[in-house]
């Protein structure tokens, strides 16, 4: 059941990315290009997603526990430290260079653009490298 919910959620998430235009790196980069071909669409994606999630989370949290689990598994980290800021800073540079973040890049995998495949391999290598190094420390 939990696997089914995850598959459906992934599908809805991916459809949302496609309909919103976020599976197109050019559209993301144009959002980040206020001085040039500015396309503010991404702000509408984020805005609508945050409003729906904010309201939906309130309903979910009001239940006290999720439907299929004993409790909510929320992130426990609260520190605003160098690791957070440096990581987010690097993330933004990569996002600007390629026009992709993880969700859209995975969603666009089936469109098979060579640049998407190269981005995904490099992204997985980056994620795995930090996880492996981090787990050893």
């Amino acid at each position: 059941m939990s696997i089914f919910v995850h598959a459906i959620a992934g599908l809805i998430f991916g459809i949302g990315l496609v309909i919103s235009g976020m599976a197109n790196p050019a559209k993301v980069q144009n959002f980040l290009d206020i001085a040039g071909l500015w396309d503010p669409s991404l702000a509408f994606v984020m805005g609508a997603a945050v409003i729906v999630t904010f309201l939906g989370y309130r309903l979910a949290f009001a239940r006290g526990a999720p439907v299929l689990e004993d409790k909510f598994h929320l992130p426990t980290a609260t520190a605003i430290d160098a690791r957070l800021v440096i990581g987010a800073g690097l993330f933004g540079i990569g996002w600007g260079l390629a026009g992709y973040c993880p969700g859209p890049a995975l969603t666009a995998l089936s469109l098979l653009a060579p640049g998407t495949l190269v981005f995904l391999v490099a992204m997985l290598a980056g994620l795995a490298a930090v996880r492996l190094l981090g787990s050893r420390a």
Binding site: A9, G10, I19, N24, N30, G36, P66, L90, I93, R131
Partner: protein, 144 residues
């Protein structure tokens, strides 16, 4: 550089669907819909389990454009750079950055902001700032 059409309605509808997906994961599974975190569960070291659920979510994502094209009979419009050095550098920075900061556009941006997490707000403002700066340099300083 390719101009793209401003699509407030389609983008808001798509954004709302992303929100629905995030709420489903929280309501049923009690988890954040952070894509980099979900993908991370597919990679070693396997410390927190949930590989099958993560794989199911990613499979859903990947299936989305296929279903979209099948239903609407129109292709998904996309312009991807064919500069492979740029795409590889971008991917590596996104992967390393998401792993270090513990989230990406979905985990920090959508889910974190919706939980009113100060940590996610700082992350989101930071990656937005460096994203804007990077595209400015790429297109208006180097690219001209």
């Amino acid at each position: 550089m390719v101009a793209t059409e401003f699509t407030p309605a389609a983008s808001a509808i798509g954004g709302a669907l992303i929100g629905v997906a995030a709420v489903l994961l929280m309501l049923f599974g009690g988890r954040i819909a952070g894509i980099s975190g979900i993908v991370g569960r597919l990679l070693p070291p396997y410390r927190d389990g949930g590989v099958a659920r993560a794989a199911a979510f990613v499979l859903g994502l990947i299936t989305a454009p296929i279903l979209y094209t099948w239903v609407t009979q129109s292709p998904v419009a996309q312009t991807v750079s064919d500069n492979m050095v740029l795409m590889a550098a971008g991917g590596l920075l996104v992967g390393v950055g998401a792993a270090l900061s513990g989230g990406c556009t979905s985990g920090h941006g959508v889910c974190g902001l919706s939980r009113l997490s100060p940590r996610s707000l700082v992350a989101t403002l930071t990656f937005m700032a460096t994203g804007f700066a990077t595209v400015f340099v790429l297109r208006h300083v180097i690219g001209g």
